[in-house]
């Protein structure tokens, strides 16, 4: 069997890319800390304010993970759309199921 060492040329670290990843990590960490702050400062009486703010911050975090870490933000538009558009079904599903939950509560109590 022929034994051959492949000639591999190692390129230097792409500093701009690494810097971007560190930046995204800091964003994620800071948003998580903000979520903590809200969990303990905004009282539970403002239930819907809390829920909406948490959902918005979660979507911001999800955007950074998907667009930067998973690189979807830099893919072709057709690939982006193939992944993002089907998630609209989930949005629809959330609304009907939360409504249904309220209806069950009313029927039971």
């Amino acid at each position: 069997m022929e034994q051959r060492t492949p000639q591999v040329e190692v390129q230097p670290v792409n500093k701009a890319k690494v810097k971007n990843f560190i930046k995204v990590m800091l964003y994620l960490a800071v948003i998580t800390l903000i979520e903590f702050g809200i969990a303990f400062t905004v009282p539970h009486e403002h239930k819907w304010v809390r829920i909406i703010v948490f959902i918005v911050l979660t979507i911001v975090k999800a955007y950074y993970i998907v667009a930067e870490f998973m690189h979807l933000g830099h893919e072709k538009k057709s690939l982006k759309m193939s992944i993002v558009l089907p998630m609209l079904f989930v949005v629809f599903f959330i609304f009907i199921m939360i409504y249904q939950g309220g209806a069950i509560l009313e029927a039971l109590y």
């Binding site: 190692v10 390129q11 990843f21 998580t32 903590f36 809390r50 948490f54 959902i55 870490f69 069950i104």
Partner: protein, 250 residues
């Protein structure tokens, strides 16, 4: 005549008629994306089920300071998940959500080390791929250890004086001390399904780490497999972001 016809056809050639990658992504990467999309539907269904069942139970109406566990209403999550390993030895009474916060940071950091492994793979830097993959595996194992502790604590149960009825201690699939039976059932299903994803992610990461060390990707000429498992690993982090919000914060 025949020749011209062929040329015209060549000009009109659709990007979907073969020979090129219309989405500028390899078959394997594309299929990983579609698998993750289907997995996202599964997790969405689980979390929406949580929302449905939670909204079909009465919410706790009194003040948060007087909160007690009861079978009558859904518990406030921060009152359930308030333990940290060794906190009683340090004289701390409760540390609400601190432990899950720590788990969140562990996953975010392991996501960064994963993305650095992908970056190293693009540069054909085997040493760096090995280093960052190993850190990612370590982060995944740490997260799994945290989750094992969290589950053990949840199952054994907390201070029974927090209970209004005082009949149950701990949690199982059919009863739990914190609230309605479905609360613990959903906890086990959702965090369990996510934890199983982390577990399989660690295994897959290890296989790729091993293949990198023995030089499989160097022979192949590219490190695209690192990128594909990277997608899976980031997805696990992404799901945790949602679980953290909908199970622990809201």
């Amino acid at each position: 005549m025949a020749n011209t016809a062929v040329i015209v056809e060549e000009d009109k050639k659709n990007i979907w008629s073969g020979g090129v990658s219309p989405m500028k992504a390899s078959y394997g990467k594309l299929m990983m994306w579609f698998f993750l999309l289907s997995d996202a539907f599964t997790f969405s269904a689980l979390l929406i089920t949580y929302g449905l069942i939670r909204f079909s139970h009465p919410a706790y109406a009194g003040s948060v300071a007087d909160f007690k566990f009861s079978q009558e209403y859904w518990p406030i999550p921060e009152k359930v998940f308030e333990a940290f390993p060794g906190m009683h030895a340090l004289g701390i009474e409760s540390a609400p959500l601190v432990f899950v916060g720590l788990m969140t940071f562990i996953l975010i950091i392991s996501s960064v080390t994963m993305v650095l492994a992908v970056e190293a793979g693009e540069r054909m830097d085997r040493k760096a791929v090995e280093k960052w993959m190993l850190w990612t595996i370590l982060g995944g194992l740490t997260f799994l250890g945290c989750q094992a502790w969290e589950w053990a604590h949840f199952i054994h149960g907390a201070d029974i004086s927090m209970n209004l009825e005082g009949i149950f201690q701990g949690a199982g699939l059919s009863y739990n001390q914190y609230g309605p039976p479905n609360f613990a059932a959903l906890f086990f299903f959702i965090t369990g399904f996510h934890g199983f994803h982390v577990f399989s992610g660690v295994l897959i990461n290890f296989i790729i780490f091993y293949q990198a060390t023995v030089g499989v990707f160097e022979k192949r000429g590219h490190y695209e497999m690192v990128e594909k498992v990277g997608l899976y690993w980031h997805f696990v982090d992404l799901v945790w972001v949602f679980v953290f919000t909908f199970f622990y914060l809201v």
